[in-house]
Symmetry: C2
Subunit: 421 residues, 2 copies
């Protein structure tokens, strides 16, 4: 990177919404996006006339593949009654809607528009698991996906490398999983609102009912070690290390800083933004880091003038428990090889000094891939505005939060930093 990036015009966030995340037989992409949009409208303190929206950016990974329907931008403007404003779809695999956010920022900062709706959507669960796995593999580079390398395998390789390099074990992945599952019941929109202990007790109960002697699991880790409860997917990645298949949508209203107060007395401000690309694992010099995240972080920290120590909390892209460990190191929250120790010490818990994935993360909140980037920012919005209810971070003067989104095998990574003033 050659210079410190700056925007010619400040950007404020004045509304945010998301649908419930889950697997829905009776809701499609249109229903989910309307649900998110209505939620967003309600969040704009002084109200929004949808006719004032200048443009829409919509992140979607591949409803082309999942739903045999592409070109979702104009479908959504029609649905919201805001045709003929421009509508552009962005795609960067699982980082698709972080890119929509970014293009919304550029469109306003350029001076062309003042009020831009950014969102994301994905509808996955109506396809079979095999089809979804095939679809997601299109997000890796051809040397990987087309060679049969699916995502649990990718993160299994990264975990193996991380274990070998730093001495971590499966129990350290479990710490991430247990932490995310502890946050999720506090998030009413999450797909899995259960702790690992809840799951363990439920399993014992169901075995009892069947008359099968229940295993004597001592605690959550004992449960997670049992392959009958938590089977291996791609060693050392087991079932509860993986995020689920999800349907969902999220959206946000961006406006030029100078008109933010027309919408709310309590806007958030974009203070840092970065994006990078990566070559994929076939060319990675380091299997325990994503170069695209490092580049994105450099860009975002450079723009904000802040360092990782200034970020009070973050949502990071935990498509697998292993991914969370890599990201909190790549983002500089902890030194390389020390992320797993930090999680073990509870530093990333909701009540720790650096809360990570208070929403439950992709792991428990769900991961409708094209919606995830903006759903992460929705959590940052909710926490910074002190509206997170039972999962509100107990740090006094919560002011700066960030969201990190990753697509493919690190092909696209972003970091976005928001501030409440």
């Amino acid at each position: 990177m050659k210079k410190r990036r700056k925007l010619g015009r400040g950007i404020a966030l004045v509304g945010a919404g998301m649908s419930n995340f889950g697997m829905y037989k009776d809701k499609d992409s249109k229903d989910l996006f309307v649900e998110a949009f209505q939620d967003m409208i309600e969040s704009v303190d002084k109200g929004l006339d949808p006719n004032d929206i200048d443009a829409l950016y919509l992140g979607n990974f591949s409803n082309d593949f999942f739903m045999k329907q592409s070109h979702w931008g104009p479908i959504m403007t029609d649905l919201l009654g805001i045709t003929p404003i421009p509508a552009t779809r962005t795609e960067g695999a699982c980082a698709s809607s972080a890119l929509a956010f970014r293009e919304g920022v550029f469109a306003i900062a350029s001076g062309f528009y003042d009020i831009v709706l950014v969102g994301g959507v994905e509808e996955m669960s109506k396809r079979s698991t095999a089809e979804i796995t095939e679809g997601l593999a299109m997000a890796s580079v051809p040397y990987e996906g087309k060679a049969g390398f699916t995502f649990p395998g990718v993160f299994g390789v990264l975990a193996t490398a991380y274990f070998a390099k730093y001495g971590a074990t499966r129990e350290h992945l479990m710490n991430v999983t247990i932490k995310s599952h502890n946050n999720a019941p506090l998030n009413p929109k999450a797909q899995f609102k259960v702790t690992i202990r809840d799951l363990m007790n439920a399993k014992i109960e169901s075995l009892k009912k069947k008359g099968v002697p229940a295993p004597q699991w001592e605690d959550e880790k004992d449960f997670l070690h049992d392959p009958r409860a938590n089977p291996s997917i791609a060693w050392p990645i087991h079932l509860y290390d993986c995020c689920p298949i999800s349907d969902g949508a999220a959206c946000m209203l961006l406006v030029a800083e100078d008109i933010a107060k027309n919408f709310t007395d309590d806007p958030l401000y974009l203070i840092g933004m970065g994006q990078g690309s990566g070559k994929g694992l076939h060319a990675a010099e380091n299997l325990t880091s994503f170069e695209a995240t490092k580049y994105a972080a450099e860009e975002a920290y450079g723009m904000s003038g802040l360092g990782p120590e200034d970020i009070q909390f973050a949502e990071v892209h935990d498509c697998f428990s292993m991914a969370e460990l890599i990201h909190i190191e790549d983002l500089g929250f902890f030194k390389a090889g020390e992320g797993y120790k930090a999680v073990e010490e509870g530093l990333t818990r909701l009540d720790g000094p650096k809360p990570i994935n208070t929403s439950g993360g992709l792991k428990c909140k769900g991961h409708p891939v094209g919606a995830t980037g903006i759903a992460q920012l929705y959590e940052v919005w909710t926490q910074l505005r002190n509206q997170a209810g039972k999962r509100q971070i107990p740090i006094k003067d919560l002011r700066i939060g960030a969201a990190h989104n990753l697509g493919g095998t690190g092909g696209t990574c972003t970091l976005t930093i928001l501030e409440r003033r």
Copy 2:
């Protein structure tokens, strides 16, 4: 639209390239994009160090569907050796790369970047015609594509409406086709470098060789009327009213106006830019016009302070001959219902007062859908820089040209106006 759109920072074009367009068994998306990139590099008069590129925007409609591979942004940065700069894919059906161009403009105008590569690519011909038809139908809104309405049918309906309203006939569509085919042999990168007369003579020759008595076609229209030569696809759309299936790529280098002269003494300048969305035919109040084009034109003309009379020539989205008639009216080049008369009078010929699709258009140059938007701008670049060789427009002081791109059934339309100073 509420106000005149302006950019906070001027944008210059300092390089443009495209691959040959055609159906290639031995070239994939990567080969084609490299071909376009190398062509672009050669076009930068004072040279370009690829390491100076700040970001890539890549238009692609659905290599997801056509090639079972998504997330092309980082694949292309890797290929060009410019990882880890950000790479974002845009999608707006057949207007996908006009959107990439636009996001490149916003990224620079915002002040964040200075030098941005924008491009487009599509690889279609390796799939069967039935699969391609299915894939393209994903670009229409669900009420159309999923109801079985494929694109020749869509434009057949529009043509029927146009004929009924204005008294045009199939012969007026033929005028468009004949004109495009007259331009194409002058474009070395075009897929079909043959006139309709060439095709007619070749058909006569081939029949003679087979010992079949050749029909006594009097002229091109007589040939096009013969269903043995030009079968009906979706009346009144016949084979030679349709653009082909194509593979290809195109790209362009955008820079901040203040550094343009570092790259060339003869840059072009972006002076107008517009984009609109449309609901699709199910909701159209007028079947002989696209509301998204009208909106895009209003935005682009508004920004430039120009009117349609100031545009000296244009590339318009002639996926079907019928489409060209609608666009030249929607863009204000001719009054509603008079486009077909203008074409008949030769006004849109290469040597006419308002040359349209001097490249041969989508009809003859080819239509690799995700590449088309920037390939159209490549023609505008080539003409304005007086580098079009045998197809150079013979207007003295050629200074202002435009490109109009359409996606789906008018779901996404753009107009971009370039100036040579």
